[in-house]
């Protein structure tokens, strides 16, 4: 069973993603901000992380940096999912080492397809 971590401060968005990935047989972890995500990652090593950029406390960029520095997470794929949709934002996300960058509002199907593409 593949593991996925969803990080976003908007509960309604989380709810939609959680339902969808559970239905696709993922073990789902949920964090409401970067700090929570990092706490979870201390003991869990998901295959994919879906990461919002603008969040309270610790933002998506900082979270990614921590992930990249963690050897346990070297195989973990990271997807940014953000309302920041300018080309420069996307380039920045990729250059920081994200495996994909999807913009909000998103098609649930597209997100699922991207995740399968990355984990297969």
């Amino acid at each position: 069973m593949k593991k996925i971590l969803l990080v976003d401060d908007e509960p309604n968005i989380i709810m939609a993603l959680e339902y969808t990935f559970k239905k696709n047989n993922f073990e789902v972890f949920i964090a409401r901000d970067g700090q929570e995500a990092l706490d979870i990652l201390k003991s869990n090593y998901p295959d994919v992380i879906i990461l919002d950029v603008m969040m309270p406390m610790v933002d998506g960029y900082a979270t990614l940096e921590h992930i990249k520095n963690d050897k346990n997470l070297s195989h973990t794929k990271v997807i940014f999912l953000s309302a920041k949709n300018k080309t420069s934002d996307i380039e920045k996300g990729i250059s920081l080492g994200a495996d994909a960058y999807l913009t909000k509002p998103f098609s649930v199907k597209n997100v699922v397809d991207k995740v399968f593409e990355l984990v297969s």
Binding site: M15, T20, K109
Partner: protein, 897 residues
């Protein structure tokens, strides 16, 4: 006291002066030597031995008449701020080193006029220097109780004269450029001015309070003497006229005496020093004159019936009481007064003698070698010899002529002679039409009349009553009696001579100037002198000159006197100042004038002109042409000034534009950020709605419960979207001024209660304790709906941040001056001090890029701020005990616009 002891004291004293001069010369520009007090005190070179001893003599013999000599200067000194400033400016830009330079340059740089001024000055001043030597000699003999020796080598004065001649010729010619400042001499003279004043005041106090019993006592005793009353009134009208002329002559003297011109103009470092001199110098004169009367009449009382020279009372009185110490100090004061006059006068006369007479008439041809060092050595030697011979000549005059006369009489003669320069001098700075011919004739005639009515009779000796010239007039003609010329018999000799000489002098100056036109050069300098303020920065522009000149020729002349290095530097300055290319082959008028100026200090104005003329080919310019050129240059200056003003204004405007632009850029950036944030905020609910809808649409197997939940999410996110749009529009209306408020008179406490009501269920949920601290009623005028909005917002925030248990919210309402202050305080986690101001920015989390602060829409406080500011109130957050404290004020009476 024995001669030897006194001579030793004198030597020590002179050594001290040498030391001061040396020190000041070495230190150069430090505060101690270059300040307005040194300048003002150095002007007191005006007070010579005549002041020091002679005033007492006059006061003792004829009462008040010693005063006009001080009243005259004091009358004119306030005008220094205009006249002296002008003279200093003219002299500075033209490198003028003496009054002869000053007058001759104005009248077309006339060599002849310069020579005349020099000769008149020497005639007037040499006897005056002799008088100082005489004073030194006489007082020396009084202090040592010896008789004057007929042998030159037994006369101490001989050695004093030689020492002074050495001192003056050494320190007076340190620089080849005569317009350079001589700090050593100036500082030494200022020092002496202090000493002579201190010693004079000391003897004054001694006589008044130790010999006598104060001013009253002297008066009581003196009023018993015969003639006391007659001597102590101004007298009748004739005496009044005498007074008038004496005031006038000394008024001129303060400008025209070569030593005064030298100290006040040539040695002036900064124009603003005049400001101090204007009060300090008259004060100095006042203090000096304070004790003249007590000493004079004290002396009259003490020496009644004995034949002593009243001039020397200040020495005789302490001597009478065997106070040797005091006697020597008084002597040193008088010695100071005498030698500062001798030194400064001889330096200024020597400058004139060399630069305006000897060099232009005889030595100029001999300065033609190419070697700068040799030329400069020659110039300095000429001046050294001049100073030396002037003092020595004065010494001989003292030995052979001046022995018979009182200090005052010879001093006054000098004043009258020098006053002959007055019309040409003052005309120079105030009257454009004054011409060279007028100036030459006025001085010559004035001086001739002086010669006839004063110098010759005095030289023959007024004491020898057998002189038929004095008693019966020239060729026994009654009308030509030197002291009663043309039958004018009620003036004393000095005012009499002044009256006639100045009458003819002034008349000729005006008559000739008006009748004969001067040449273009005179007119050119006239413009530059009279309008110096317009030309002082770029005066070379105002010099009218036409012809052909080569830069290389002019350079060669300059090198002969300035040397290779200084010439190069000077040319560089010139080229930079006027933006002239350094390889410019042909020289223009400005360079000609510039070069003349550079040479002037070394060899005088006339010689400078002659030298430069010898290497350039000048064309005659007609008078109308001069005026035209000057007019143009004046216009140019005005246009330049306007251009500068306009360009300054442009600079200012462009600066403002840049600021406005910067502000716009900032605003633009803020707008961009705002839009960014707004789109982000709008996209968030849309994302949730889109995701939920997609699932509902695609997934048929979704459980009923979840389906409902997703639908509920869609509804709440839509509402959120709508609220957000409302708030954005609200804020936009306030910011663009489209939103107006409608104030009415309300009870603020009631409004607060009304705002709490809809929030009650939230408050109860968290079991928060809410307290209102206020009077029952606080009325002020505001828009009720809007203030409800503000308070609701603040309360919602407070509720949100209150801890889960023991939450406390306090609302305080108090009146401060004309405002009502309302504070909402919670006991939550509080606000970071750094965020005190930013929380009122829209979407303030946006300033911290990617970090969101959990504060709802991020627009609430921004809207509150707008509302409060539209009420002319203030909103801010401040430190609370714990938790947040946001306060706002509302004016009690809201002025409607």
């Amino acid at each position: 006291m024995s001669s030897i002891v006194l001579i030793i004291i004198l030597l020590i004293y002179l050594g001290f002066l040498f030391f001061i001069a040396h020190w000041a010369e070495k230190k150069g520009n430090i505060k101690w030597t270059n300040n307005s007090y040194i300048y003002s005190l150095s002007l007191a070179v005006y007070c010579t031995a005549w002041t020091y001893y002679g005033s007492i003599g006059v006061a003792a013999n004829s009462g008040l008449s010693f005063l006009p000599i001080y009243v005259g200067p004091i009358i004119i000194i306030p005008a220094w701020i205009i006249i002296l400033r002008k003279i200093i400016k003219i002299s500075r830009v033209n490198k003028i080193a003496s009054i002869a330079d000053f007058i001759s340059l104005r009248y077309g740089n006339s060599r002849f006029l310069g020579a005349i001024v020099t000769l008149v000055s020497i005639f007037g001043i040499l006897p005056y220097i002799a008088l100082q030597l005489k004073a030194i000699s006489e007082t020396f003999h009084i202090v040592t109780k010896t008789n004057s020796s007929s042998l030159i080598f037994n006369d101490t004065t001989t050695y004093v004269a030689i020492a002074l001649a050495l001192f003056a010729s050494y320190y007076g010619t340190r620089y080849v450029d005569a317009s350079e400042k001589r700090k050593g001499i100036v500082t030494a003279v200022a020092m002496e001015s202090v000493l002579k004043l201190v010693f004079f005041v000391m003897i004054g106090v001694y006589v008044t309070f130790f010999v006598f019993d104060g001013f009253d006592d002297i008066y009581k005793q003196a009023s018993q003497l015969t003639n006391f009353k007659e001597k102590n009134t101004i007298g009748d009208l004739t005496q009044g006229i005498n007074w008038f002329f004496l005031c006038m002559v000394s008024l001129f003297a303060i400008f025209l005496l070569p030593r005064q011109f030298h100290m006040s103009v040539v040695e002036n470092n900064r124009e603003k020093h005049i400001k101090t001199a204007i009060w300090l110098f008259p004060l100095y004169l006042l203090i000096f004159n304070l004790f003249v009367y007590p000493i004079a009449w004290g002396g009259n009382v003490l020496f009644e019936g004995t034949a002593v020279n009243a001039d020397t009372y200040s020495l005789l009185i302490p001597q009478l009481f065997s106070n040797e110490w005091m006697t020597v100090l008084v002597f040193l004061g008088g010695f100071s007064a005498a030698i500062s006059m001798i030194v400064v006068s001889s330096i200024s006369l020597a400058t004139m003698l060399s630069n305006n007479l000897l060099i232009p008439y005889t030595f100029l041809g001999k300065l033609n070698t190419e070697e700068q060092v040799i030329n400069n050595k020659k110039i300095v030697n000429i001046r050294k010899i001049a100073i030396f011979s002037l003092i020595i000549t004065a010494y001989f005059i003292y030995r052979f002529f001046a022995l018979d006369y009182s200090l005052v009489s010879i001093g006054l003669i000098a004043f009258v002679v020098i006053a002959q320069l007055a019309p040409a001098f003052f005309g120079a700075i105030f009257w454009r039409r004054g011409s060279r011919l007028g100036a030459i004739w006025s001085i010559l005639i004035g001086f001739s009349i002086c010669l006839y009515t004063l110098l010759i009779p005095y030289a023959i000796g007024i004491t020898s009553s057998s002189s038929t010239f004095v008693n019966d007039g020239l060729f026994q003609i009654e009308l030509l009696k030197p002291f009663q010329l043309f039958g004018l018999d009620y003036l004393e000799p000095v005012p009499h001579a002044l009256f006639w000489s100045l009458l003819f002098n002034t008349f000729l100056y005006f008559a000739i100037s008006v009748s004969f036109k001067g040449n273009y050069r005179e007119r050119n300098y006239a413009e530059m002198y009279v309008d110096i303020d317009k030309y002082s920065t770029n005066h070379e522009n105002a010099f009218v000159w036409k012809g052909t000149a080569y830069t290389s020729d002019i350079k060669k002349v300059l090198i002969r006197f300035l040397g290779e290095d200084r010439t190069k530097r000077a040319m560089h300055i010139f080229n930079t100042k006027y933006n002239v290319a350094s390889d410019q082959e042909l020289a223009d008028a400005r360079l000609v004038k510039f070069a003349e100026n550079l040479l002037t200090g070394h060899i005088g104005t006339a010689s400078a002109r002659i030298l430069i003329s010898s290497v350039v080919k000048e064309e005659k310019v007609t008078l109308p042409e001069v005026l035209k050129i000057l007019e143009e240059s004046k216009e140019n200056i005005i246009i330049n000034k306007k251009l500068t003003e306009t360009s300054n204004e442009l600079k200012k405007i462009s600066f403002q534009l840049k600021n406005a632009n910067d502000n716009l850029v900032i605003k633009d950036k803020q707008k961009d950020e705002f839009l960014d944030t707004v789109t982000h905020e709008l996209r968030t609910p849309i994302t949730a709605i889109r995701a939920a809808s997609e699932i509902l649409h695609d997934d048929d197997e979704i459980p009923e419960e979840l389906k409902k939940q997703f639908l509920q999410n869609i509804i709440s996110e839509s509402d959120r979207l709508n609220r957000l749009i409302d708030k954005i529009l609200d804020l936009e209306k306030f910011e663009t001024g489209k939103q107006t408020i409608h104030p009415t008179n309300n009870n603020l406490v009631q409004t607060i209660k009304n705002s709490i009501e809809p929030l009650q269920h939230l408050i109860k949920n968290k079991a928060i304790h809410v307290t209102i601290i206020s009077n029952e009623k606080v009325y002020c005028s505001y828009d009720d709906d809007r203030i409800v909005q503000v308070i609701t917002n603040l309360l919602s925030n407070a509720i949100k941040f209150c801890p889960e248990t023991n939450g406390k919210i306090t609302i305080k309402c108090e009146i401060e001056n004309n405002f009502v202050k309302t504070s909402v305080i919670d006991n939550g986690k509080g606000i970071d001090v750094n965020d005190f101001e930013t929380i009122f920015d829209k979407f303030y989390q946006s300033t911290n890029q990617n970090i969101k602060k959990p504060l709802g829409s991020g627009l609430g406080l921004a809207i509150c701020k707008q509302i409060i500011e539209h009420h002319k109130g203030n909103i801010w957050s401040e430190k609370a005990m714990n938790g947040a404290n946001i306060s706002f004020t509302l004016p009690i009476e809201l002025q409607r616009e």
